[in-house]
Amino acid sequence: MAKRLGIGATIAAAVIFSIVLTSNFAVYYAAQDDARLHSESNAADALADESSASEGAGGINILLREQAFLGSHILDCSSALGVVSAEIRSLTDTQTSANLTVVTSASPALRGPAVENLSMLVPFGGYVNGFLDTALHEEEKGGESVIGVSYARNETHYANLPLRIGDMARDCDNAYSDIGHVISTTVPPNCTASAIFPLIAAASSSSSAMAMLSGLRLAVHSNIVRVAPCSVGVVAMVSQVNVLGPAGVFSVELQREGLFVFEQ
């Protein structure tokens, strides 16, 4: 009788503990699955957050490079737009982390949305007609290979520097052309500063007024290079000061210079 009881107790213990173990394994594997799903979800969320931050940082770095270029070069009015466009096209930025690479390349933007959804580009986000606008092409690749999450996204965002580069080039070129026109159609009484400089000032007055309307400054410097024939060196210079950029305020200057000869 005692032997039977012993066997029964052993079998009962085996059954009860088997049930406990099986139940525990079921909960354990469910929790493991839950943890795996959380890991995947967290990895995807981390990649999305990192990519947003990298897009913002990449975009602002591009604008910083534009600002550095424009603030350190005095460009020729006639070629300024082409030179600036080429410079913008050459700009790239790479943000790299352990799981993600975001490459930002830039191109001049001729149109785009006024409101930019990448809010961290504030206050330079979005397209503004008349400003120096840049399209930011973001190529994002990454993933967490250990848990099998991959990430790839291409996006375009728009940013601007409040710089009226088109107006600057136009006013500078117009002033230069007007001066050339006046010189080619006017016969001065003599080749002295008092006879020549008022003509040049009058020739550039209309462009100067246009520049002021756009918040720009037009200055024309001239000097008499030779008296016979009467030759005048002219430098037309347009500037925009106190432009707000991502590195602070800066100034931009465009100029065009040449030698004009009066017909006498």
Partner: protein
């Protein structure tokens, strides 16, 4: 024979308890909870940058950025960061989940951190 039965029952019981202890679901639950907190904290860091703009990190002094992070910190969450060479706020505790966000800006690198207070 009785001793043999007792030994077998004890072996089964010990193995079962060891199995339950080894394959505890608690660890997985803890991991999931930690990841959720980390994700929420990272979202909060991203919101700071979205609201202030990346340029704010460049144009403000590191002290001003640190002061803002300190202002945002409260009894439940702490924000800190490294702006270039300037570290502000306390170091994150080793035991709790910490969210980080790194921005490689031309002037310097910015690292923002957030964690829940114990």
């Amino acid at each position: 024979m009785r001793y043999l039965d007792l030994a077998i029952a004890a072996l089964i019981g010990t193995s079962a308890i060891a199995g339950v202890a080894t394959f505890s679901p608690r660890q997985a639950d803890y991991t999931s909870g930690g990841l959720l907190v980390e994700s929420q904290l990272r979202d909060e860091l991203l919101t700071i940058i979205q609201r202030q703009g990346v340029t704010w990190l460049i144009l403000s002094s590191p002290q001003a950025v640190c002061a803002y992070l300190q202002e945002l910190s409260n009894s439940s969450v702490t924000f800190s960061g490294v702006i270039g060479q300037h570290r502000c706020g306390p170091y994150p505790p080793g035991e709790s989940p910490v969210a980080t966000l790194v921005l490689d800006l031309i002037p310097y690198q910015v690292l923002l951190e957030a964690w829940r207070n114990a």
